[in-house]
Symmetry: C2
Subunit: 335 residues, 2 copies
């Protein structure tokens, strides 16, 4: 057990206080524990929960190489100018093999490291306990409780883990660039659907207008389809051109993020989102607790061992085995 783990165990209120004060070292250590899948974090997350719900959570995703990190760098400056504090979680589900790219980004973002209003952290698949998606959710909670006005989640790609991660965001910005038309064609529209705001970055390259038009066609199509289905109100997804390296279009992006936030609040969708998020959190804790209960109960049980041997030899299938065990262990459930 690390020194910090011990501090956490014995002085949980002190750690809570430090997080609420925005203490960078405490926040960083807590996120490391989360990343390691440490069991010790449940108590502190429970305590921090009461202080969450204030941050606006922005997801930024898109294919590699479109300039997401540069865009985030400029977004941070813009928010800092407005006096807002910012937390960034750069999530790389494919690490360690492809860890290099994000490492570079991290170094680039170091220029904000002397600014106490900015907290930047990369997260990869360190621990095997619990998924990266779950860990991201917890880290967002810590940054939210620490008083960050804006929390940015950056993910690369759009595999399942990334889609799971981006669900924690209130506003999802999908970053694309010109000349990746073919790739976009090959993508499932599911990827488009996760975006609330589209950014065509590197818009000083040729074909930028064509890229914008293609996305706008999708936006129009999706809008009409939702209207037909009677959905109301519908957020009309904006398509923005940016040249992040020159800082162009960043103002507009911040403006649209703000508009989307207001849309969520006024339409009461934000409230529903928060209840949905609470539901999945509670159900997740629930199943984790039940799973641990069964693991404890079965650990020393002879019948369980004998059933496992039968499953291994192909005599009994896992489904029938589970039914047998449910009857045995759950009827005797003591909470």
């Amino acid at each position: 057990m690390s020194t910090f783990s011990r501090t956490l165990k014995n002085n949980i209120n002190e750690v809570v206080k430090k997080v609420l004060d925005g203490d960078v070292r405490t926040i960083a250590r807590l996120i490391t524990l989360i990343e390691d899948g440490s069991f010790e974090i449940a108590d502190i997350l429970a305590k921090l929960h009461t202080y969450t719900g204030k941050a606006h959570i922005i997801g930024i995703t898109g294919p590699p190489g479109v300039g997401k990190s540069c865009l985030i760098d400029k977004l941070i400056r813009e928010y800092r100018k407005k006096g807002l504090s910012v937390g960034v979680l750069a999530i790389d589900p494919t690490s360690p093999f492809t860890g290099g790219a994000l490492l570079g980004d991290r170094i680039r973002m170091k220029e904000h490291s002397t600014d106490s209003g900015v907290f930047i952290r990369s997260m990869g698949s360190r621990g095997s306990l619990g998924g990266l998606s779950k860990a991201t959710g917890y880290a967002v909670k810590v940054l939210d409780a620490s008083g960050k006005d804006i929390v940015i989640i950056e993910t690369v790609g759009a595999g399942q883990t990334q889609v799971d991660i981006i669900k924690y965001a209130h506003t999802v910005v999908l970053v694309l660039m010109p000349k990746i038309g073919d790739e976009i064609q090959a993508m499932k529209t599911g990827i488009y659907e996760i975006g609330d705001i589209f950014v065509v970055n590197k818009a000083d390259q040729e074909n930028a207008d064509q890229a914008v038009r293609e996305i706008e066609e999708f936006v129009e199509y999706e809008y009409e389809r939702l209207k037909e289905r009677g959905v109301h109100p519908i957020w009309k997804k904006p398509v923005i051109k940016t040249v992040a390296v020159k800082g162009e279009g960043i103002n507009k992006l911040v403006e649209e993020i703000e508009k989307h936030k207001n849309f969520l609040i006024e339409s009461k969708i934000m409230e529903k989102l928060k209840i949905e998020k609470s539901k999945s959190e509670v159900l997740e804790v629930l199943s984790q607790k039940i799973y641990e209960h069964i693991l404890r109960k079965t650990g020393t049980d002879e019948e369980f061992k004998s059933i496992l041997h039968k499953v291994a030899s192909g005599e009994v299938d896992p489904y029938s085995a589970a039914n047998l065990l449910l009857k045995k262990f759950i009827l005797n459930w003591e909470a």
Copy 2:
């Protein structure tokens, strides 16, 4: 519901028979249902379970660009020469964005498509229900039941999803190449630890011997550490040089895979692996069933709704909420 879903529902024994006969279309459709996270597959997987346990399952992993697909292509030829049937699952957790690479590989492997003793299939993150890792486990089960002597699981990279996937393999082949020394240095040794056999492919490039030496140093270090801990017997991991494009070293690789298989059987580690796998399968089905039960019970429950509102507003934390609900729903559990 698709035609195949209906057939599956009404004529499950017929579908089972077709899988056991190795019918390619039935197997392909079943894997599509698995990929979609369809609930209808549980019954057939239960029935197929009895016919599994005969295939040797080989995991092939490593960074992109080391020549895994070419190596697999040559492995297939070698096994076919020996009269063994082969199933290949090429898993790409990062699709759809990076789906291109594997698509190319799939086309390359098409030359085996007229051979009924070979079944090749790519799998990505199609459905959101259930993870890709779980889907891979089910697909392996189907191929095993279909009578394939060898099942190869190919994964790219070494993120968490990939490590989860490779766990289904009895023998893990980690493919590397010369001149990626720096990347390897940056990798956690955890990646090395998952390999049972190391392949340095493209071994006609310079620095191949140096790469082999570096890996052998790790193997030696790990071996000594295990010996100190009293582990017995220990598999001494071989490091093989191959030039897959020229077919060099493939014989040797097949030989080492066979040796590793025999080691697993003679040391009774294979038996333990199968029991461990059964355990995680049973526990997974168990927690899934409990989760579904709770979801059903809570769906219409007023108290549950009211607790969720309190969690959303920060009044109650998810952990306390879960404890309340456990007491309420599990004590009334009827299987």
